[in-house]
């Protein structure tokens, strides 16, 4: 079956936010398919609905119109199949690093000695050996975002939704983490959707980049990244000869999306 390989699908998805001030159309008639193991990035001007799309994929809110499918089935709420990483780490200051990373397991009732050992192994793998019993305030921003990554991976989801997880970090740490995330997700064969403002990041990490325009949010361009850049680590990809070309294309599309205003 063709649907088997489609991990995520948006079919004619629209979302309207309603509050006292009124109703506003955040995204309109989106169609997008993400295949198993694929890494897709969403770029676009602020307010074009990137977080809205991730929230619907994560089951935090239902679409106003259309369908959101996860592995062929409609998304009705948060699922164990899906992990989510936020821009800030939001580690609980009263929990140790280990307990922070294990909170998903605790909620799902899977927190036991074996799982905690697995969490410790994960922390070591992510470059945080021996910090399980420390508290978040003892860690730097980059280390804390690694814990947030461990927290997401601990429940072993198939699909990762990443909402600008690197944007609050220094460039140096950001590049390190990009490589770490890329390597980890590739090795584990995870499917990922990354939201970012950083075009170079999108080009270096993804298989496919979706460019969105705002008012209302919609897809204006889909760019498939060439194989050689795709296979390289994000750090190496940046140095490849074809990289600048991809970046320039994205840049041009984004400018068009930002300048274009309403429907062309």
């Amino acid at each position: 079956m063709a649907g088997e390989d489609n991990r995520l699908e948006l079919k004619d998805v629209s979302h309207v936010y309603v509050n006292e001030k009124g109703a506003s159309l955040a995204v309109e008639k989106l169609n997008l398919t993400v295949r198993r193991g694929e890494f897709v990035s969403l770029v676009g001007p602020s307010g074009c609905g990137k977080t809205t799309i991730l929230s619907m994929l994560a089951g935090l809110m239902p679409p106003t119109g259309g369908q959101v499918l996860l592995a062929g089935a409609p998304v009705l709420g948060p699922s164990r199949l899906v992990g989510y990483m936020l821009q800030q780490d939001f580690l609980f200051p009263w929990r140790t690093i280990r307990d922070n990373a294990a909170i998903g397991l605790e909620i799902n009732g899977g927190k036991n000695a074996a799982a905690l050992k697995e969490v410790d192994r994960l922390l070591t793998e992510l470059g945080l050996p021996g910090s399980g019993s420390k508290y978040p305030h003892e860690l730097s921003g980059g280390m804390r975002q690694r814990v947030a990554l461990a927290r997401m991976l601990a429940t072993n989801p198939e699909v990762m939704l990443l909402d600008e997880p690197f944007s609050a970090l220094d460039l140096h740490i950001k590049l390190q983490l990009e490589d770490l995330v890329d390597e980890t997700l590739k090795r584990l064969g995870k499917t990922a959707v990354l939201v970012t403002h950083d075009l170079a990041e999108a080009a270096a990490m993804s298989d496919r980049v979706i460019v969105l325009a705002a008012n209302p949010g919609r897809i204006v361009k889909e760019l498939v990244i060439p194989d050689e850049i795709r296979k390289a680590t994000p750090m190496e990809a940046r140095k490849l000869p074809g990289f600048q070309d991809v970046f320039d294309q994205l840049w041009a599309e984004l400018n068009r999306a930002e300048g274009g205003g309403g429907h062309a």
Binding site: Q88, W94, I103, Y135, P136, H137
Partner: protein, 288 residues
């Protein structure tokens, strides 16, 4: 002194690492010495003020500059205290008041936290109750005292009820406000793992509010003392508040003042104990 100054200035100017270090050490030592001197001076002044006050009071009482029947004087009060402790008559009063206060502030904090949880769980309820809470909070709650005496009978129950009326509303409001101002990102983290509302409360809302709950406990110690003493003024047959009122009635102001001192001492001890408890409990809880 000038010689000293000269030496560390020279040390800093010499440019040698060792000289610089010893020069800086010397500055630090001078700084610490100065701080110690000021602390000692403050202590001495505090003690002197107290001593002068007591001496003046004693003299004024004995020389009848003030009416010793109304204002008593320190040695008389100390005597009274000593006797009441020696013959054991003070202890039941202390015991009664302390247990009423402890029950009052613990129960007040627990009930307040419970109500706050209820308001958080049912947002509709919190909208409905909001104006009532505002009115109840601005009311002088000890005025409810007679009502409690009529309905609960004179004694322990109505005293605890007076205490609760003072502590519960403000505790509820403070803790509820903390509950609803917790950053949305923390809530999103657990919601994304499919947490139920009960799990959200247990894993995020309650622990994130822990410092506020503990500080409410501390505030409630003070409020509970007010409630208990007023309650005892109104109805009791036992307790420090009762002892004071009794002193007034029989015109024994030495008894009144000595009881006041006991209240001050016991309340301070209790407050300090709760402050230590607060530090113990919140030491594992760390701010960002």
């Amino acid at each position: 002194m000038p010689k000293n100054e000269h030496s560390y200035k020279k040390a800093l100017l010499s440019g040698l690492q060792e000289d610089r270090e010893s020069g800086m050490k010397e500055l630090h030592a001078q700084y610490k010495q100065k701080a110690r001197r000021i602390t000692a001076a403050v202590g001495t002044t505090q003690f002197t003020i107290l001593l002068l006050f007591l001496a003046l009071w004693e003299a004024a009482g004995r020389q009848k500059w003030i009416d010793p029947l109304l204002f008593s004087y320190p040695t008389k009060i100390v005597n009274q205290l000593w006797n009441s402790m020696a013959d054991g008559s003070i202890w039941p009063h202390i015991g009664m008041t302390v247990s009423e206060t402890i029950i009052g502030f613990i129960l007040g904090t627990l009930v307040g936290t419970g109500l706050a949880a209820l308001l958080w769980w049912f947002p509709f309820l919190s909208r409905v109750l909001d104006p009532y809470l505002v009115v109840l909070n601005s009311m002088p709650k000890v005025a409810l005292g007679p009502l409690f005496i009529v309905s609960l009978g004179p004694g322990f129950n109505s005293i605890v009820a007076v205490t609760l009326s003072i502590t519960v509303i403000i505790t509820t409001i403070n803790i509820y406000n903390r509950f609803i101002e917790i950053e949305a990102g923390y809530i999103k983290v657990v919601r994304l793992f499919g947490a139920s509302r009960a799990q959200l409360f247990r894993l995020v809302i309650l622990p994130a509010s822990f410092p506020v709950i503990i500080s409410a406990l501390k505030v409630n110690v003070g409020l509970a003392w007010i409630g208990v003493i007023v309650g005892e003024f109104l109805v009791a047959k036992l307790g420090l508040g009762y002892l004071m009122i009794y002193g007034f009635q029989v015109f024994n102001f030495t008894l009144v003042l000595s009881t006041l001192i006991v209240i001050a001492v016991v309340a301070t001890i209790m407050y300090q104990l709760v402050a230590i408890l607060e530090r113990k409990l919140t030491s594992g809880w760390r701010e960002r």
